[in-house]
């Protein structure tokens, strides 16, 4: 019973960590512009994050080393430093976007100034992190994020043409640069590097050993799988409602409109509540990921479980990342734009994050019997090839489409 409960909690935590402002924005925009045509890209991204999260969790459980430790060990100081700089920039933009997302949701619920909510939202996060243990954090944001299942209910309420929906799962390539930009965006939103940084460091925080490998696999497959279902649902509800009307969702508030249309005020509140917890969870994950990376690279004591006294530099860096995130979010740049840049720039950082994980997870001298099997290795290298192609295409597409503006 205890094991089942533990797995259930892990799955819930994975849902909370998967769906962030990037997924909410890109999936909704993808549905509005291309109806169901990009569903295959969502599935592709979801399988990708499940594959790499499973590997990073396995490496952490077997070796006791989180991702950034592995990156420095495998790539050396020079490339490790490059990976640190790239992922720190992306994580910082992500923290700012998530803080902006929290503020927008609070503004929609309480109609007070956005700038005030950026600061109060961040203060609330600090208080929650100070008060709750690591597992409690995951549960709070994971359970809260479950409110977003209202999106799945909305799909069934809309009852779209299921043949058209099914057709969207068949990969198709449109030659337009905007379509390709959204393929990259939807894929990258699912594979944001902070997710594996946080996942593997979280495994160390929770003291995972080889005994937790089954739990790790179930978390990766079911947790990210359910997160993927929510992403697919976002594309469908947006494609059903926004595409025929020509709506171009440029605000986070627009994401909630289909749920309001289906279930009135209750649907709206569930959607906004679910968004709040998902984005809040992602703000914690990404800010922790930024300080985990820094501390692991520089060999500092790190970990939420250590507390500020035993890991003062780790705690201080976390607060600094939050402060920098607040400064960016308060700068007046639309959080949705910050999100788009953070997602697209993350693609450039992806190879530096995922290659070392792939190499170490397949290294029998390091992982012994727990090294990648044939399926994990094949999927891992296939995805790495996709990541390389997309990382080369990301910046040219961002420029060619004027940041997705067409």
């Amino acid at each position: 019973m205890k094991v089942i409960l533990k797995i259930a909690l892990g799955i819930i935590a994975a849902i909370g960590g998967f769906l962030d402002i990037g997924d909410l924005v890109f999936n909704t925009q993808a549905g509005a512009l291309y109806r169901y045509d990009l569903l295959w890209a969502v599935v592709l991204g979801t399988i990708g994050i499940a594959v790499y999260a499973e590997m990073s969790g396995r490496v952490a459980a077997v070796s006791g080393r989180p991702v950034f430790d592995v990156i420095r060990m495998r790539l050396g100081f020079g490339f490790g430093l490059l990976a640190l700089i790239a992922s720190t920039l992306v994580n910082l933009l992500t923290v700012a976007a998530e803080l902006g997302g929290i503020a927008i949701v609070l503004e929609l619920l309480f109609d007070a100034p956005y700038n005030m909510f950026v600061v109060t939202g961040a203060i609330a996060l600090v208080a929650i992190v100070a008060l709750l243990p690591f597992g409690g954090l995951e549960r709070l944001f994971g359970y809260g994020g479950l409110a977003l299942f209202v999106v799945v209910a909305t799909v069934f309420h809309q009852n779209p043409d299921w043949g058209d929906v099914a057709h969207g799962f068949v990969p198709s390539l449109d030659s337009s640069t905007l379509y390709l930009y959204f393929v990259v965006g939807v894929f990258a939103a699912a594979l944001m590097p902070y997710e594996v940084h946080f996942y593997s460091s979280g495994a160390i925080e929770e003291g995972w050993t080889e005994e937790n490998l089954k739990e790790n696999r179930l978390n990766a497959i079911l947790g990210y799988g359910i997160g993927g279902v929510l992403s697919v649902a976002l594309v469908i509800v947006s494609g059903y409602l926004f595409h025929p009307l020509g709506v171009e969702p440029s605000d986070l508030g627009t994401v909630a409109l289909p749920m309001q249309g289906a279930f009135g005020e209750t649907g709206l509140l569930l959607a906004l509540g679910g968004m709040f917890f998902c984005v809040g969870g992602a703000a914690i994950d990404s800010s922790f990921a930024a300080s985990y990376n820094l501390a692991q690279f520089l060999g500092w004591e790190w970990g939420r479980y250590q507390g500020p006294r035993k890991a003062p530099r780790f705690t201080a860096s976390w607060l600094v990342f939050l402060l920098l995130g607040i400064a960016i979010a308060e700068s007046g740049i639309n959080p949705v734009e910050i999100t788009e840049y953070s997602v697209v720039f993350s693609v450039v950082a992806l190879p530096l994050t995922y290659l070392p994980v792939l190499l170490i997870a397949g290294d029998r001298s390091f992982m012994s019997d727990h090294a990648n099997g044939r399926i994990a290795a094949t999927l891992g290298w296939l995805y790495f090839a996709v990541i390389i192609v997309l990382s080369l295409a990301a910046i040219p597409l961002l420029l060619a489409t004027n940041g997705g503006g067409g």
Binding site: I85, L89, L245, G246, G253, Q260, G261, G264, L268, F345
Partner: protein, 141 residues
């Protein structure tokens, strides 16, 4: 390297775009149509008493500001093709209309009667925007 790349791209995006081409004018009017469509969905929630007034108010304000911004952009720009001047004027007027309607919704986010009226008028504004798009792309009858 990543920082340099980021700054280069940021500089490119903030560098301005010069004269307004026909395509850009078209895209601007399409954005107005999209804003009107989005506004209709918000107004529909108000009309059906199926929303939260804070949400309706903030959404109306945000969309209204976007319409206003679009109007300013269209009004300030120099046209690359002088023969689209009429369409530009019409688009600025539609943008003002959309902005005004959303401002009304912002003032009465809990009034079902106002919600229904604004929804209807936004639908008309969207039709006007779509007609301008059709003229610009040569699809008008």
């Amino acid at each position: 390297m990543a920082l340099g790349l980021f700054l280069a791209v940021a500089a490119l995006f903030s560098s301005g775009c010069g004269d307004l081409s026909n395509d850009e004018l078209n895209r601007g009017v399409e954005s107005l149509s999209a804003l009107a469509a989005q506004g209709q969905l918000v107004a529909s929630g108000v009309a059906r008493d199926a929303t939260k007034s804070t949400y309706a108010r903030v959404m109306s304000r945000t969309l209204g500001e976007e319409a206003e911004h679009e109007a300013e952009k269209l009004a300030d720009a120099t046209l690359e093709e002088a023969e689209t001047e009429d369409q530009r004027h019409a688009a600025v007027a539609v943008a003002g209309e959309i902005s005004g309607l959303l401002s009304e919704l912002q003032t009465y986010p809990g009034d079902e009667h106002h919600g229904a009226l604004v929804q209807k008028h936004l639908e008309e504004a969207q039709e006007k925007a779509d007609a301008i798009v059709a003229q610009l792309s040569g699809d008008a009858p």
